[in-house]
């Protein structure tokens, strides 16, 4: 197969995908949902067939276009309707609550204790500090979000004011 024709097909596929991504307002990969990630892989596989002419270019446009259009329509529906959003994204699973790992959720998410400890360490929390955690959940993008108990949060200026107030009351 002529390298020139492969180059022409690759260039056309690139321009087509660029135009499609530009108008669909794709989020960055780091912010992509699971479905967007799957879509990226599927389109990546489709482009291979188009570049090496295993399928006519119209079939590639039809497949990639339909998938992107569907993803766009579902994203729009999820933006306007919370039920659709919940159905598409699911509730972020709570892995740890009041310092205790939730076994059922860990099993469902296939995260063992060591992996959980590792995720928490990356968030700057050692095993000895687990009791300080009110809730730790995996957000969309696989990022662990940790919410500490009020008493475990670092001291702030308002806390100093409270201490001063108590000291003043005792001294009276």
């Amino acid at each position: 197969m002529s390298p020139l024709r492969i180059a022409i097909r690759a260039a056309i596929a690139y321009v087509f995908l660029l135009a499609l991504l530009r108008v669909s307002g794709k989020r960055l990969l780091a912010e992509a949902t699971g479905m967007q990630f799957v879509l990226a892989i599927v389109v990546g596989d489709l482009i291979d067939d188009a570049v090496f002419a295993s399928v006519p270019f119209a079939q590639f446009v039809a497949a990639a276009g339909t998938l992107t259009l569907l993803e766009f329509l579902i994203a729009m529906a999820a933006f306007h309707n919370m039920r659709v959003w919940r159905f598409m994204e699911g509730e972020p699973p709570v892995l740890l609550q009041n310092g205790m790992p939730r076994r059922g959720v860990k099993r469902h998410e296939r995260i063992n204790r060591k992996e959980l400890a590792s995720l928490l360490r990356l968030a700057g929390i050692s095993a000895a500090q687990w009791a300080e955690i009110k809730r730790a959940r995996i957000e969309e993008g696989g990022i662990l979000a940790v919410l500490r108990h009020e008493w475990a949060k670092p001291a702030q200026r308002k806390d100093a004011e409270l201490v001063k107030e108590r000291v003043r009351r005792r001294s009276q």
């Binding site: 197969m1 024709r5 022409i8 097909r9 056309i12 087509f16 135009a19 499609l20 108008v23 669909s24 307002g25 090496f52 002419a53 295993s54 399928v55 006519p56 270019f57 119209a58 446009v61 276009g65 992107t68 259009l69 766009f72 329509l73 729009m76």
Partner: protein
Amino acid sequence: MKALLNMTAVLTASFALIAGVVFGLGDDETLVSPPDVVARSFVEALGHGRPETARDLLTQHAGRSASREAVAKASRRLRSRIGDLESVEATVRNRRRNRATVHVEIEGTRMRITLVLPLARESGVWRVEGLGDALTTIARRPPQGRTL
């Protein structure tokens, strides 16, 4: 809503561009699969036991004359002859406007054979039009190790 319209416009413009290049400018191997690729895909589908995929690559006329059973039978025969498909090399030998002849070298675990497939352009894309000949070639079994 504007984004949806833009996306529809991109898709429509892409299809229009492809149609213009294929039907208007007569492109027959850049935005459509060239005949050797179609012939190779056809033989690979037969060799891997996917007769439905192979049937989709036939011209309308050949598709009408070759039933699903006939294509499935051809696929079984080919596999029983060559064993597991190892490689397929297709070369365009003769090409005139909307017709082409492709020689397909098929190498299997048992033997190597050559098929001559006639192709024709139909609705802008290349299709295999001579399944009958290909089947006959497969059906005539030469001694093992010899090329058809």
